[in-house]
Symmetry: C2
Subunit: 508 residues, 2 copies
């Protein structure tokens, strides 16, 4: 495929400025427009070694207002980045809406091409491609623009340029020039690059091949590509697609042929389950001991653990978290209380604020409420559009699947109580001066929407309970029973995963 590109294309010097000047003016306008109307623009520049990536980026950035653009050189991952899964560092470095980032190399050459042996495309595991596809899909579904450029030169040109760079860099000692210590390997890399490009050339994030033998031509084509893609993208953002086009990507409504409409996983929970105090103390102590030992295993096995707590107001999330952490070494876990997103969070994909809080290898992160807010409070209170929360099931499943494939252990709890029990607990709290701080007007308002929340919870449990990341519905009318169930489930899940040695080699 790459061999079919005409690398002789060039632009004469006297034609150049007539072409380039209007393009530069235009991209400046588009950048300003994007600052007001746009989401984020991510330009990933890939290409052969010696194809002139730095030179193209240099020119591109100087056509833009430096206050709204940032170049991120993607080198070897830092030690913190190595402690997370492959795409984590790209999530973390996403720009806020309205801004542009130019990636000098990206997840392609810095993860796949350099991590797997050349000339053997089978060594790139399918799950790694899936990591990329999910990332690119989630970015673009959110309305961000992802532009992927591949700078293409012939094998002969590459060899000549690398020799020249080698001489120059010895003379000038330029610290930015890549050290020309490795040989070209053009022919070995060709099939793997072709394979990667064709596997990841999607409708939402297509590749553009840039013929880069001639500098002027390459730069003009880059500018043209970026401006025309930005233009189309801005037009699309300003005139949203008709509802039916979104609908095609949304899950169909859940129908229940033959059974009662309102049948929900919540109906199956036996809320009478309970423990006596003595039983509770004994079981709690037993599972605390187990957990404490398992945490040491986790650290040795370097598996990250994600624990999600969701549940009705006053269902006892806080109490469960306290008992769970009692047996854990505080150096090895973090509790993340999730409230309203900040204005900075709102300038990013809604999953961004969770990605940046994900546990590193061997660490446990406990989310006290989570990304499920999207399909619970945000849905019920109308804080996002219907199209957005409907799409979220797919996005959340995608995120959890990728994390799970990358060795994360995911444990999700829904703490279930009934409406009467909630009322009792609310009244208790109001009556107890030590607990009054726990109850707010918002809790009472939420309670009035019990049935709306109930539907949202039921649909969430249906759509996001996956084999890799199942929900555990905890009967929580009895606090003792709930707490023991939480500790037991965490211990058993970690234990179950102990034996499973994932052969994936994405990390580090």
């Amino acid at each position: 495929m790459l061999e079919s590109f005409d690398l002789s294309l060039s632009i004469k010097k006297d034609e150049y400025s007539n072409i380039i000047d209007p393009l530069k003016a235009h991209i400046g306008e588009l950048q300003r427009d994007a600052r007001v109307h746009g989401k984020a623009v991510i330009i990933a520049v890939e290409g052969w070694r010696g194809s002139g990536i730095s030179r193209v980026i240099n020119r591109l950035i100087h056509a833009l207002d430096p206050r709204g653009v940032r170049v991120i050189p993607i080198g070897n991952p830092s030690d913190i980045e190595r402690e997370h899964h492959m795409m984590w560092r790209f999530w973390v470095s996403l720009p806020p809406y309205g801004q542009i980032i130019i990636l000098d190399r990206s997840w392609y050459s810095r993860t796949l091409v350099e991590r797997f042996s050349p000339a053997d495309m089978d060594s790139v595991p399918a799950y790694a491609i899936d990591d990329i596809l999910t990332f690119e899909e989630q970015l673009t579904d959110d309305g961000n623009l992802l532009i992927k450029l591949f700078l293409h030169v012939s094998s002969q040109t590459q060899t000549e340029r690398l020799e020249k760079v080698s001489e120059e860099s010895l003379q000038k000692e330029c610290p930015f020039t890549a050290t020309p210590d490795c040989a070209s390997h053009y022919q070995e890399y060709l099939p793997i690059i072709e394979h990667l490009i064709s596997r990841t050339d999607t409708l939402y994030a297509p590749w553009t091949i840039i013929e880069a033998e001639h500098g002027r031509y390459a730069y003009v084509k880059v500018l043209q590509t970026v401006t025309s893609l930005m233009e189309a993208w801005l037009a699309r953002l300003k005139t949203p697609l008709p509802e039916m086009i979104y609908a095609a990507r949304l899950p169909p409504d859940i129908a229940h042929p033959g059974i009662h409409e309102d049948r929900s996983a919540l109906d199956l929970v036996d809320l009478t389950l309970s423990y006596h105090y003595a039983e509770y103390k004994k079981l709690l102590h037993f599972w605390e001991e187990r957990l404490s030992a398992l945490q040491n295993d986790l650290i040795r096995q370097k598996k990250p653990v994600i624990i999600v707590f969701e549940g009705w107001d006053a269902a006892g999330k806080g109490g469960c978290i306290v008992r769970l952490t009692n047996s854990l070494n505080p150096r090895g876990y973090t509790v993340e209380p999730i409230g309203k997103p900040s204005d900075w969070d709102l300038l990013h994909h809604y999953l961004w604020r969770f990605y940046i809080r994900l546990p590193k290898k061997g660490h446990i992160t406990i989310f006290d409420r989570s990304w499920y807010g999207r399909v619970l409070v945000e849905r019920v209170e109308g804080l996002c559009r219907e199209e957005e929360w409907k799409r979220a099931y797919h996005e959340i499943n995608g995120m959890e699947e990728r994390l799970s494939k990358n060795e994360n252990i995911i444990i999700k709890f829904w703490l279930q109580i009934d409406k009467d029990e909630q009322l009792n607990r609310f009244r208790d709290r109001e009556g107890d001066p030590e607990k009054q701080w726990k109850i707010t007007d918002e809790d009472w308002r939420n309670r009035e929407k019990w049935e709306n929340y109930r539907s949202a919870v039921s649909e969430m449990l249906k759509r996001t309970s996956t084999p890799l990341a199942p929900w555990t519905i905890v009967p929580a009318n009895d606090k003792y029973y709930a707490r023991v169930t939480v500790l037991r489930t965490v211990a058993e899940t970690i234990e179950k995963n102990k034996g499973i040695e994932n052969n994936n080699k994405t990390q580090g």
Copy 2:
């Protein structure tokens, strides 16, 4: 000093729960109170190896609501942290207001004690202690609570415990236990620790020595210390000190005996300075070449560069930044446009959002507006209290001094135009459809307050032009002259610093 503590102090088992239970209940209340009324609480736990730091932290954290507290183990710095000055990683990890962090080791043992040779207190340079004092002062001036605990045991106890730990960890392979590979060195470290504690035992951040030979006693004293300090701190936050107490720490008003009151550095600027286009092009090209070469030196010398742009609206900051970056390699610089702080920023010290954006070694960060907003727009528009902006001169000078001592090159520009020139530019912008986006109602409103801003600028230039971080006032009525001045100043300042090899060894 340490030897005068009575290490035989202990608490009997049957007295223990009578003492500990009310303390635990009380600290829970204080934590909730701090969440509403407080700023951040930072508890730094230091002590001898083998003094039981982990055990004390374990117990302390379980007395607190895990949703509002985080333990940060301070180990060796990560590679990113190594690229910044010693205290940077502590700035970056500060919690938002209302939260508590417990540092398991801190800047004391992880920087000073471990970095400099034991038993030779002269090897700890004075500037490193100053780094710490400035950090602690800035944190506490902002209203945060810093609690410093030192867990003290005798040499004999240490030896016994380390031997025991050594045996246990071989049996259990506990991944959290410090590897007992280094000998005790108690006597060598004693004088250096005594020296450090006495040098840093300040009114705003005093040390508390915890007698830690007996576990129950140590834990009770820790809980008592933390509760009583939090209690006093909350009381102080709720009933602010009288104005006069603040006044003692604020700079005196500037008097100008003998000369005109309104004499300002701004009056001395010759705004008629200008270049013809041909001169401009030649000079611009000359300095671009120099800068390009100097950037390579910077990277080799690993010095971070901070460039600050401040100036009147329409003074041409944007144009200067574009010309400055034209000659720079985009991999080596970042432009940080500074607007209103986000709500997350507002949950931290006002300098925090600048600290997290500071350049690493060899990198250039260009701040388009900066921390000087505190004494300009925030002062004039009443966005902070008088007490706050007055204190800011001292804080800013402190920050810049510490950065400068840690090898940062700091270049600060004030772009000066007169009121007529601003009016011309505003009208130009309004008349030009390509430039209309540059002018807003806010610009016109700011213009009405010209005289207020002028006083603020004059005072800022007076109080924050220091030998290590001087202001360059750029005559900017002529854009050509301004741009060349900016490039020349940056180039000359970097060049001047080239030769200066700072002998400080704080980094890395």
